[in-house]
């Protein structure tokens, strides 16, 4: 119980810290910043676990774990999942979510109605669909997955490695190209 409680509490505190950092500091690389905050928090998590009593003052005796090292490992796994599957995904969706942005654009349209033909220009708070494509292309360039050779895109070795991983997975899962 202690590991689980600390994992949930830790995720809540990390979310508050991330919110404060986002509001106080302007940065483009927010995902990397979130991961750094998480990594910095890991030794804090371990320290809190080690320095606090096994029952945290509130846990019933039947829920106190006899193996504290196993419970610490369990707590770290849950904490990591709450970050990578929770907070980081929440950020990714809010920042890059394609369908989500469409929902927001429809909601912000006059009378809450948006014609399909108008969405191309209205997409992304009226930045337009092309801006979203450019954002993805810029991301591939800035992360070193593609580069420009004589005005054309080519895969970098890093990009080629990524393709060797993704393509067979997509093919095996029949995800297609749609």
């Amino acid at each position: 119980m202690k590991g689980l409680l600390l994992a949930v509490a830790g995720a809540a505190v990390l979310t508050l810290v991330a919110t404060l950092v986002f509001r106080l500091f302007a940065t483009e690389r927010r995902a990397a910043l979130l991961v750094r905050l998480f990594l910095l928090s890991l030794p804090v998590f371990v320290l809190v676990y080690v320095l606090t009593p096994a029952d945290l003052g509130v846990i019933q005796p039947w829920a106190v774990e006899p193996d504290p090292r196993l419970e610490l490992a369990y707590g770290l796994v849950v904490y990591s999942a709450l970050f990578f599957g929770g907070l980081l995904q929440l950020y990714n969706l809010a920042e890059r979510g394609f369908s989500l942005r469409i929902l927001i654009d429809i909601g912000e349209a006059p009378n809450g109605r948006l014609a399909e033909r108008d969405l191309v220009q209205a997409y992304g708070g009226r930045r337009g669909f092309d801006a979203a494509l450019d954002k993805r292309i810029d991301g591939l360039l800035s992360t070193g997955l593609i580069h420009v050779v004589d005005g054309r895109f080519e895969l970098t070795p890093r990009g080629a490695r990524g393709v060797r991983l993704y393509q067979p997975l997509r093919a095996f899962l029949r995800l297609g190209t749609a």
Partner: protein
């Protein structure tokens, strides 16, 4: 009462997570699955149910069974974003297109994703999922869609993220 309950619950959960992933991969490979999200949730749900049944059969207490179930939930929230990234990420698709047609001019790459086609497809998906409904030539949000839009609009405002998308 056995003293290794948490270890047993974790072991059962770990084995079931592997089985869940193997089942997902095999089902999606050998069967034509139309409602993939629902299939994935069902597979994970079955794994969670199996966790409860197995751990109860092994004599674990409710708390440790819950701990094992939390691990399966953790696997779910970590795997689903990975799956959706693999299935729908524009960046990954662009990468595959650059490999397929390399070298590829920026204009040719953008031409592979015409706005009306891409957005039209996404609108249909949103409508099929109950987030929006078509009224004449326009789309309006359903209650579910409005709720999601408001929640994430608030998150974007709180975190000062800008338009995004």
């Amino acid at each position: 009462m056995r003293s290794d309950q948490l270890a047993v619950a974790i072991t059962v959960a770990a084995v079931l997570i592997v089985l869940i992933l193997v089942t997902h991969v095999l089902v999606f490979h050998f069967r034509r699955v139309h409602r993939r999200s629902r299939a994935l949730v069902t597979i994970f749900g079955a794994g969670l149910a199996a966790q409860v049944v197995l751990c109860r059969g092994l004599g674990l207490d409710t708390h440790r069974i819950f701990c094992g179930g939390v691990l399966i939930f953790c696997a779910f929230i970590m795997y689903m974003p990975f799956y959706y990234m693999l299935a729908t990420s524009f960046s990954i698709r662009m990468l595959l297109e650059v490999r397929r047609a390399s070298p590829l001019s920026p204009q040719d790459l953008r031409a592979l994703y015409p706005g009306p086609v891409v957005l039209g497809g996404r609108l249909e998906t949103l409508a099929a999922s109950g987030y929006a409904v078509r009224v004449g030539d326009a789309y309006v949000l359903t209650g579910k869609g409005r709720f999601v839009a408001r929640v994430f609009g608030a998150v974007k405002a709180l975190w000062r993220l800008g338009p995004g998308g």
